[in-house]
């Protein structure tokens, strides 16, 4: 875990330097385009975290694997925070580009917003069930229903936005020069590693909760500083 975090921070510093200093300003959007270096990784991770959650839920339901449910439970709050970031930085990007903080006609913003609601639903449902194994499996059913829906939401919102033909942020991925693209990919990788690091941290707690009765957990809880130090 410290390796994940360390590598992630290293990549982030590199990506930031590349994105904020080395990359030239966009010929259309000027320096505002640099928000892409946090916006796109956050949006990417918000979807990835949901996928992780849904796949872990499927595994947890089919093979009754506690570890998988612990993964789903750990991924949700991190995914929600990335979704929030994608929305907030999108809004900060939208203000200078569209002249408004929020553009209803932008399909990606709307998809992210609904994704945030789905995360909230998942976490609220879980926190309303006190019995852990029921919370795990009820959450898993919801995550699976939700993942089918995310696909539908994505396409329906896209279809809907095409009718309202609002201005969307120009999509210049295809023509992006390497000096702009490399920092972006670096940042995406760094965010993914960061997600992995935070996720492992949360996962450890979740596993401890689920194995509260096991002998190794008791020994751990006995309070040997040395042993705890090794794990942290």
């Amino acid at each position: 875990m410290p390796w994940f975090l360390g590598l992630s921070v290293l990549l982030m510093v590199g990506g930031l330097y590349g994105g904020l200093v080395l990359a030239p300003a966009d010929y259309q959007q000027g320096d505002a385009f640099r928000i892409i270096y946090v916006h796109v990784p956050a949006a990417y991770l918000s979807l990835l975290a949901y996928m992780v959650m849904a796949i872990a839920s499927v595994i947890g339901l089919i093979w009754r694997m506690k570890l998988a449910h612990a993964v789903a439970a750990s991924a949700a709050p991190i995914g929600a925070s990335f979704t929030f970031l994608a929305l907030a930085t999108g809004s900060l990007w939208g203000k200078p580009m569209w002249g408004t903080w929020w553009q209803w006609a932008d399909p990606r913003m709307l998809t992210e917003l609904i994704l945030l609601f789905l995360y909230f639903g998942f976490m609220t449902l879980r926190s309303n069930i006190s019995e852990r194994s029921r919370a795990d499996r009820a959450g898993a059913v919801l995550a699976i229903v939700g993942v089918v829906n995310v696909v539908l939401v994505h396409y329906s919102v896209e279809w809907w936005a095409s009718l309202h033909q609002g201005q969307t942020i120009a999509n210049s991925d295809a023509t992006m020069p390497a000096s702009m693209l490399t920092p972006l990919l670096t940042m995406i990788l760094a965010f993914s590693l960061f997600f992995g690091a935070v996720m492992l941290q949360r996962l450890r707690g979740e596993v401890l909760l689920r194995e509260a009765g096991a002998r190794w957990v008791r020994r751990l809880a006995d309070g040997q500083v040395a042993e705890r130090g090794k794990l942290t």
Partner: protein, 63 residues
């Protein structure tokens, strides 16, 4: 340097985005650590209870 900070007039939006992002990332890390600590503490407490003759007394941590 000042020119770089101004970001061609978009300074506020660019820096606000980056500041917010890294604040949320840091918060993620802090919250995850805090939760882990809380779980460890409650496990320890319940274990201490058990040693003091309270069978199966693991208490749930909230949030």
């Amino acid at each position: 340097m000042m020119e770089w900070l101004a970001m061609g007039g978009y300074g506020f939006y660019v820096w606000a985005s980056f500041a917010l992002t890294f604040a949320v990332l840091a918060l993620n890390l802090v919250l995850a650590r805090a939760r882990h600590q809380r779980i460890m503490n409650s496990l320890k407490a319940s274990h201490a209870d058990e040693s003091a003759e309270r069978p199966g007394g693991f208490r749930e941590v909230t949030s």
